[in-house]
């Protein structure tokens, strides 16, 4: 199968076959990361720009390592040190980078849809590294990869996503991904943090974590953003933690071989008790190392795929 997409913007618009191709390619990329010389010449001479309008250490670092392992030339562009503070628009910034020879642009932006704007207006390949509350495809793909690696087959698994679904691009991308690959998806969180009409995409909504955890294969915890408390979505961290925090007792309701995931950074003692975070069920560090292989696959496929050749 050939990857026809020029961009990777979101899981919503990828087919299940395309998702599987990315995961299969990532398996080969993982082998590269296990060698002594962790580098292949695949993207030699290709310039990749990491255009991050939002602070991010791990996603940017993971993309940068992925780019370097493929031998791409890497440019990191962050708004605080750039002309953005001088009032340049997003599109002008990106056009300038393209004029300097960037053929792949990895973008993170606080506005939902920003990567689509670039994809429409520029000729470079665009990779979405997270846009607003919308999508975070590389995170969802690395989550799918991690689950597939452990459970072999995603179809038929039961996954529950716990926390602030409303403001989570990680949750949105994962919901698309897991549904497309045939898993049963549940979400649970305070009613103020569950998007309206979410049932329309075949997701089961729970408000009680005990019920939601019953018999699941995967628990995906989301990071609670403490500033949501100020907007009145939950009364206190303590109360949130009491109702929706994952403890060892609660985890006992899931299947015996359940895995616990978290996109990081963890708020220990809030959404996840410390003992669960370090527990044998936790695959949080596997997620981080798989992130590099998955991002290598995404970059390789968009650079070699549809229309850029």
């Amino acid at each position: 199968m050939v990857f026809e997409q020029k961009h990777i913007l979101g899981l919503e618009e990828l087919s299940s076959d395309e998702i599987r191709l990315i995961l299969d390619t990532a398996e080969s990329m993982k082998e590269v990361s296990e060698r002594d010389v962790k580098k292949v010449p695949a993207l030699k001479g290709v310039t990749v720009v990491n255009l991050f309008f939002e602070p991010s250490t791990r996603t940017r670092a993971s993309f940068e390592i992925a780019e370097k392992r493929l031998s791409a030339d890497v440019l990191n562009f962050t708004p605080t040190e750039s002309s953005v503070v001088k009032g340049e628009t997003l599109l002008d910034t990106a056009r300038n980078l393209e004029a300097m020879g960037a053929s792949v642009i990895v973008i993170r932006h606080s506005m939902s849809g920003a990567p689509w704007l670039l994809a429409r207006e520029l000729s470079s390949s665009i990779v979405n590294a997270g846009d607003g509350f919308h999508e975070h495809p590389s995170q969802a793909l690395l989550d799918l990869f991690t689950v597939r690696e452990i459970k072999k087959e995603i179809s038929g698994l039961k996954i529950v996503i716990v926390g602030d679904i409303l403001h989570s691009r990680v949750a949105r991308s994962n919901i698309w991904g897991f549904i497309k690959l045939g898993a049963e998806v549940r979400v649970v969180g305070p009613p103020t943090m569950i998007p309206r009409d979410i049932e329309k995409v075949d997701v089961k909504v729970h408000y009680n974590i005990e019920n939601a955890l019953e018999g699941v294969d995967i628990v995906m915890m989301l990071r609670l953003q403490k500033e949501r408390q100020e907007s009145g979505l939950f009364p206190s961290l303590r109360e949130y933690s009491r109702f929706y925090g994952l403890t060892r007792e609660r985890l006992g309701l899931a299947k015996a071989d359940v895995i616990v995931m978290h996109p990081g950074p963890i708020n220990r003692g809030v959404e996840l008790s410390s003992e669960v975070a370090d527990d044998m069920h936790s695959v949080i560090l596997n997620q981080v190392s798989n992130g590099i292989a998955v991002r290598m696959a995404m970059l390789y496929l968009v650079a070699s795929g549809g229309g850029s050749g």
Binding site: V2, F3, T25, S28, V40, P41, A42, S304, G309
Partner: protein, 179 residues
């Protein structure tokens, strides 16, 4: 080439490999995907039969090392490379079905170098298509040499994949379809 000639050629190559490398002790055999893998396995089996030692077998996917990355659109997807041993100070026998332009071999040599520094890398191929080399690369062990033109395609059929062993030469419409 029919099944019998292929078997005989591989048996001769196994003898030649053992002679030149003074036994099987330092040998590491690496097949290039896809058909090279099966030929490599047969060579390793033959060497075991002759010498009593089975040389470790690896498989190599060279997609990430190709030099025509930006030119082709019909990419084969990246497959896994599996080399579960060290190549450091070993005699690596690289195995492919057909040697044509030499570009696959170049990519394979680069890939192996990323795994370490072997003492030798030698190349064994079932078919050497003469006259079309684009790089200064020659095979050390050859099943058969054929003179072909660019509008022909040499196809190696392997029992494990295609149900029978045979080497056939096909006539194509345009040289771009050739391999």
């Amino acid at each position: 080439m029919d099944s019998e000639t292929i078997t005989r050629a591989l048996s001769r190559i196994a003898h030649e490999i053992l002679e030149r490398n003074k036994g099987a002790k330092e040998l590491r055999i690496i097949g290039i995907r896809t058909r090279g893998i099966h030929i490599a396995r047969r060579l390793a089996d033959k060497i075991q039969e002759l010498e009593g030692i089975k040389p470790p077998l690896g498989t190599l996917d060279i997609t990430l090392y190709r030099d025509d990355f930006r030119r082709k659109t019909d990419w084969p997807s990246v497959q896994k490379t599996e080399i579960a041993f060290s190549v450091e100070e070993k005699n690596v026998i690289l195995v492919d079905d057909v040697l044509y332009t030499g570009r696959t071999t170049r990519a394979a040599i680069d890939a192996i170098m990323d795994y370490g520094r072997p003492d030798f890398i030698q190349l064994a191929v079932l078919v050497d298509r003469g006259g079309h080399r684009e790089l200064p690369i020659q095979a050390d062990y050859v099943g058969t040499r054929v003179m072909t033109v660019r509008t022909q395609k040499v196809e190696v059929l392997i029992k494990e994949l295609d149900g029978r062993d045979e080497v056939i030469i096909l006539q194509l419409g345009s040289p771009n379809e050739a391999r």
